[in-house]
């Protein structure tokens, strides 16, 4: 499915007139109608790398805020052009910062907020509000509105209409513009806030946007790891529904690891883990820590200590319910062609040694399809029973993941993530 544009050209209005315009729009259309009875989605959509690539003429506009293949390819090329380490994630804010040093004055049409991914538009959102910060140091607030009717798919069906609102401007302008948002969010509909950027930026805006009971969608792969985990666990603890795209991307790893221990003869082995090693791409440990925390939570391990290890890794110890110590090590591994998501898992190794049969040690290694596991395969594993599997790469786009969340969302955080978040934060501290 390709992204869909709004059918109507957006109308630029003074911020103070947005609410009355939208109310009028619906009541003129059909008395008493307020559009689709679905949900509202607020998106923080900086698209810094895309804006910089358009400005420096390395990619043609318009700016749409979707992670399309040509954008990723241009960003990878930019990493090389600006002499950054090849292991830099192509959409990282550091890439945008490096590009900012380059000259360029190209202006692409800015369609952020008007270019709706088909997976999301199929859900017929009631209102899509996009906050689109611009590169300009000074950019007065622009407010755009448009009615939006997703075309019904084959087979008919009633197209429930919604509208899009775009707030565009510099940081201060957007901060000022937030005042118009609250009346635009009907209290009876669930609202989601998708922070589609680094968790380091604009914390004041994030705090104002992501107020409970709004459901928050973040990506803990974007931003300072401490800040990411701190925000995650604080919000979860406060009872807000938090969805972490970085956690969602762990699902194939969790599924494959569980599959290894599905056969009943292997299930008992899980109680004899003595060592856990996780390799991640680059220097962002959060996904690896969340995976370790999930395993620890499921197996009842308690964290004992944690420290920075040689080579920028993290070394920690857990205590199993039977008192035995489990060594944990998370290691960053440089990758030539890194994922667009920083800190993706490259491999995981679990070593299990039953106390009663120390000669019957089992070594489980799961390897990412895109990476190598040579580091994990080395180190005297030959004497153990080796169970090795390849984990396929995540293929769902960010927009597909968001659509899945929106389609059947919950007003609470999934208990597994809620349990893993504080543990992961403890491992990092």
């Amino acid at each position: 499915m390709s992204p869909q544009l709004t059918l109507q050209s957006p109308l630029q209005l003074p911020p103070s007139e947005v609410q009355s315009y939208l109310e009028q729009l619906w009541s003129n259309d059909q008395p008493g109608s307020t559009g689709a009875n679905t949900f509202c989605l607020l998106v923080w959509q900086p698209a810094w790398v895309e804006q910089q690539l358009v400005r420096t003429d390395q990619i043609a506009g318009p700016i749409i805020g979707v992670q399309r293949p040509e954008l990723i390819q241009a960003a990878r090329q930019a990493v090389i052009d600006v002499d950054m380490p090849h292991s830099t994630a192509p959409l990282d804010v550091t890439v945008a910062a490096a590009l900012a040093q380059r000259k360029g004055t190209q202006h692409g049409e800015d369609l952020r907020g008007q270019h709706v991914d088909a997976a999301i538009s199929a859900l017929q959102p009631r209102r899509l509000i996009t906050l689109a910060p611009t590169l300009d140091e000074v950019h007065e607030l622009e407010t755009l509105v448009a009615a939006y009717c997703p075309l019904p798919e084959e087979g008919g069906g009633t197209a429930a209409c919604g509208d899009v609102v775009v707030l565009r401007g510099d940081h201060d302008a957007l901060a000022k513009g937030l005042g118009i948002l609250q009346p635009l969010l009907p209290a009876e509909l669930p609202s989601w806030v998708w922070w589609n950027g680094s968790l380091d930026e604009a914390p004041d805006l994030l705090d104002q946007l992501a107020v409970p009971p709004r459901r928050l969608v973040i990506d803990t792969a974007l931003g300072n790891p401490h800040r990411c985990l701190d925000l995650l666990q604080t919000r979860v603890k406060a009872g807000q529904a938090v969805n972490d795209l970085n956690w969602l991307r762990l699902r194939t790893w969790r599924e494959h690891l569980a599959m290894v221990f599905d056969p009943p003869q292997r299930r008992n082995t899980l109680h004899h883990v003595v060592q856990l090693d996780i390799d991640v791409e680059g220097n962002h440990p959060v996904q690896g820590l969340l995976l370790a925390a999930w395993i620890a939570d499921r197996l009842g391990w308690l964290p004992q200590s944690s420290k920075r290890a040689e080579g920028e890794g993290i070394a920690a110890e857990f205590k199993r319910p039977d008192g035995t110590t489990v060594q944990f090590r998370l290691m960053p591994v440089p990758m030539g062609q890194p994922s667009i998501h920083p800190g993706q898992i490259v491999g995981i190794r679990l070593i299990c040694k039953p106390d009663s049969q120390p000669d019957h040690a089992v070594c489980v290694i799961l390897c990412a399809e895109s990476g190598g596991c040579m580091r994990l395969e080395a180190g005297g594993m030959a004497s153990m029973e080796l169970l090795e599997e390849v984990v396929p790469n995540q293929i769902a786009s960010v927009e597909m993941d968001i659509a899945r969340l929106l389609a059947g969302g919950h007003n609470t955080t999934t208990p597994l993530l809620a349990a893993a978040a504080p543990l992961a934060a403890k491992l990092l501290s």
């Binding site: 689709a36 009875n37 679905t38 949900f39 859900l123 017929q124 019904p152 798919e153 087979g155 008919g156 069906g157 009633t158 429930a160 009876e188 509909l189 669930p190 699902r251 969790r254 599924e255 690891l257 569980a258 221990f261 599905d262 056969p263 009943p264 299930r267 008992n268 899980l270 109680h271 395993i295 499921r298 197996l299 039977d322 899945r404 389609a407 059947g408 969302g409 919950h410 007003n411 609470t412 999934t414 208990p415 597994l416």
Partner: protein, 507 residues
Amino acid sequence: MSATITNPLRVGLRQERVIAPQCLVIFGASGDLTHRKLVPALFELYKQRRLPSEFALLGCARRPWTDEVFRQKMADALGDKVNKNRLSWDQFAAGLFYEPVDLQKPEDLVKLGHRLEEIDRLRATRSNRTFYLSVSPKFYGSGCKALADAGLLKDPKRSRVVIEKPFGRDYGSAQALNRIVQSCGQENQIFRIDHYLGKETVQNILVMRFANTIFEPIWNRNYISSVQITAAETVGVEERANYYESSGALRDMVQNHLTQMLAITTMEPPGRFDPEAIRNEKAKVLLAARLADESEPWNCCIRGQYAPGGTKEAPLPGYRQEPGVDPISTTETYVAMKLFIDNWRWQGVPFYVRTGKRLAKRLSEVVLTFREAPVHLFDAAGGGPTANQLILRIQPDEGAEFHFEVKSPGSGMRSRPVEMEFSYDESFGEPSDEGYVRLLADAMLGDPTLFTRSDEVEAAWRLYTPLLELIEDSPWQLPIHPYESRTWGPAAADALLANDGLLWRRP
């Protein structure tokens, strides 16, 4: 440390499809099925976080209950399931509502429409509605019509109707009912439920056949000599005498559950994994199926009825002694028959189908018996070599087993049969869901793959029409053979296979 029962890493890991926000409306909410199957299944879905937060269940029946009464009745019925999960239940129960509705009264439907709009606002259920007709079969047609007349089915993307079995009493009534329900909405809005299709093991037949390369090449008349499909129950008619007297085993079990097992076992591979592609293949194979002797059906069908049995200490009454049953009833509680499928894959392969109450064991299975090796090179420990068999165990002890010959230990070269076994319980780190859990989720997802389409239902009724007509017109030609309770049915059923030199499997 002792072995764990479940895999701790498996908990909460299902990658299920996401059910959209919606309101499930159950008509007949004061009935048995609602508190015995439907609400427990929904609560299970809730506990597994497979229901969205924006979910509501609106119970409808004629009784003048309130929301609170309905919630309390459901909580009482679920008993321990609620007591052990009180917090979850309280959250789930907040989404339970009740509206007194008589489907025959248009003004009640108007009231229902308003209540649904109110629930949409209250629970943000986005006007997505699944209507579940858990009412007497005689109201299926009028119920659908009432919903359509009230405009509640006008959006095919957002509204659907689930209809319980039995769908008609014969070919003619099924056709008539189909005409009515199809006039109320599109075919893809109609979900005719057959809870056997909700069983993991029935669905697994599709996966075994079409996700492996080793089975499909031998899944045909060249390698398979016969197929047996059994659904055996140990219980009697219990409290269902009223319904069962007018139904019997043929209508109650064979036309739907066993025929669906037959269709899934024998269908051609679908072009893609798509509801319509799968249902096309099922309908096609049912159209090719026929009774082994259509002109003289008594040659290929045996009817039976359970007689008293048990022991002196624990006697079991016969069917005619059960409360609510006519003392001279000729309703069959057992039926066995032989079918053929006239297509390239199955021509000449006999399919033996049997079902009964008060049989020796509770089990459902499909048994594929393969042709014998063309030449016997080895002595067999059991006298003669045993034919290879693939047994798909539907319930209980869900799984599959393969019987094949191996060398018997010792200096000679004697063969003997052994079993290779796969068990769902042992192989996976979590128990399978109840059929209703899967089917309710699928209906709310709008996925009709595991529901029967109009042409399938009609083809299934047409298949048994000669028998139904015979029972109606000249029942003496299909006499009722009594069998002792907790045995494997009447001797005449054994003779049906003995004529072909075969035996029913005694699992």
